[in-house]
Symmetry: C2
Amino acid sequence: MPRDLYKAVLGEDEIPTHWYNIVPDFPTPPAPPLHPATGEPLVPDDLTALFPMGLIEQEASAERWIEIPQAVREIYRLWRPSPLYRAYRLEQALGTKARIYYKYEGASPVGSHKANSSVPQAYFNKIAGRTRLTTETGAGQWGAALAFAAEVFGLECDIWQVRSSFEGKPYRSAQMAVFGAKAVGSPSELTEVGRQLRLKFPDTSGSLGMAISEAIEEAAKDPNASYSLGSVLNHVLLHQTVIGQEVLKQLAVFEEPAVDYLFACAGGGSNLGGISFPFIRENLEGRQHVQIVACEPKAAPSLTEGEFKYDFGDTVGMTPKLKMYTLGQDFVPDPVHAGGLRYHGMAPLVSHAYHEGLLSAISVKQREAFEAGVLFARAEGIIPASESNHAIAGALRQVRAATEAGESPVIVIGVSGSGQLDLPAYTEFLSGQMPDT
Amino acid sequence: MPRDLYKAVLGEDEIPTHWYNIVPDFPTPPAPPLHPATGEPLVPDDLTALFPMGLIEQEASAERWIEIPQAVREIYRLWRPSPLYRAYRLEQALGTKARIYYKYEGASPVGSHKANSSVPQAYFNKIAGRTRLTTETGAGQWGAALAFAAEVFGLECDIWQVRSSFEGKPYRSAQMAVFGAKAVGSPSELTEVGRQLRLKFPDTSGSLGMAISEAIEEAAKDPNASYSLGSVLNHVLLHQTVIGQEVLKQLAVFEEPAVDYLFACAGGGSNLGGISFPFIRENLEGRQHVQIVACEPKAAPSLTEGEFKYDFGDTVGMTPKLKMYTLGQDFVPDPVHAGGLRYHGMAPLVSHAYHEGLLSAISVKQREAFEAGVLFARAEGIIPASESNHAIAGALRQVRAATEAGESPVIVIGVSGSGQLDLPAYTEFLSGQMPDT
């Protein structure tokens, strides 16, 4: 009686063997990245100072399926396949006849989906002979994930953590240190860019855009170093498609052939792309008609309030220009916002899918997000990451609408991470002191 | 090829249906608890002010197998069976031919094994009509677990958290608050006992014994309340035997018929008893010859340096007297000790097994424990709880001895919890500032 299952836990032999590349399946091709100086479409050589060739090839690939190297699958086996749960207790708490499932990525070693990309990124750098990785991190999930992956493949790892997060989340830098990485607050005194930003904005709480500029500067000046990005780029979203592929297999275990709604949080787009792209393929091939809903914070609403245009990925303008929904390269989210997902842009592949009408988007204020997170935690036991709370809030809106309409849809929620290290934000919410940004 | 598996993940239908009670299998019967005032063996009625009858019956039961109620198994399904991993990467890091397995309880909703007992404790209180639970917590794992279970069954929950932990671990009280429970630092102003202790020891960092006294006073004066204990008592160890039963099934999946060594950390004894009692049964029935090693902190060495005698379970002397290895009811562990497992005594069932030679014990200083934990985290990705680090350290000693002797034993480690909320202790260790207590 599969419908009685609480969780579909697949064996290690069910870990996907390939990543799914959505590019060849798009009805129209996405716009190419442009060289920041010339404005011409980027060629692979433009990226070799920052990335190893294995990742550059993935970034530009037109192949639908890209094989996952054995060495990466070995590390995935430490936590994958991740579980898909039927949320019986949440359904009961809501009094709904909707069937709600959630994919939980928080049981990975670092507590989020980010390890799905940090491991292959470290691997392709290792086989290219690089010995050091630099990166940025906002909430700290990506930094922790890259620290873990760098340790696995014996690489050094230096992390620029957005200052407000570095100061407010000491547990995150401790987690990176356990894996042997070094984190500093950004903007820092360690880079030219950082020193300039500190002069210009002495009181800044930092931003992902600033931290990206610092990490890129550092990688560009060290020939043994690569830069790693935790979201936005095509190859990052590619790696995350293991999530959605597993969900499809697990829904079959539950004997659930069709989903009505898929909710996932969206900051840079790696979680959303990873869980939804395999479902977009289902839609494009006519097997399903899933409504995919990107749930972004009202404090950084790139899809719902941004402009679809070429913009830089960082603050200073060191990256290629990407065609994406953006709030502008110098956007700094409200420092009182604790809800995560603070990036100014949205992954070009997600932006393109949104522009083509292949997914929809909503924005959620943080109090609604945390209210949903507390309800979820009390029903299911799992305390979700701040980011994941946006997806849960989106799903709850749908459940309430369905109840009013007398409908019982099948809903999947992407719970991208654990909220254990976001507990101070929960305290702020429970005490009534969280600003409703 | 089962030997290639990284983790044995059983289906929900493999969750044990019964708890295993070791009492009838002991070669000699354990000494009974005594009434604190009369010194006579306790009768069930002596406990009805504090506990519901369902738990009192378990406490005194002579039945080998006690059925797990359906409502409890439903909640266990949220995270059980927990995974048993083959530690390939740790083996490789150690350069050993030993085969190392670890049972990971840290993926439970609250991050430790404690939920295995909090859920049935809340359940039996619920069906007895109690509406409120009081308890103590040290590191915070038990408090979080009871908060979760109380929420599941709709009970109020008040938690006295050892002061040093309450002040140093704000994430833990936040976690309890997410589940709707209230935590206060102990000794507190809320109880007569607490007020007296604060007068007598104004600078005390608190102890589990003091917090137990406060929680008992509060439960005794409220007819709707019960007291819950997270370790030590027979029924708590009984509930935890789901761990060891699952390990036996999972070793069969790995086609590993016999274990040479089992290492588990020991504070009050619930984790050690839970994972080891099913193995003691294997030994007593001649199926295996497993050497079971309790790993306790040098800072609270009840088995290795305590005395086997009748003592109180709390500081003030409100509990029955228990025959156990103890450092004395007024023992207060060194406040600089961050390694967990700070209780003055040891569960009577574990003490009895130790006295009868059915298990052995070692003590570990906290720097050795954290060194082992960091090595483990860097190999396996999982950051273990402070407590679990003691078991890992014990296993590493054995691996090194085996390497010198040219042996390749089969070793199981009980990793009782996640260290995500212990990260400040890791920082202290990595910075070289952890006192070696």
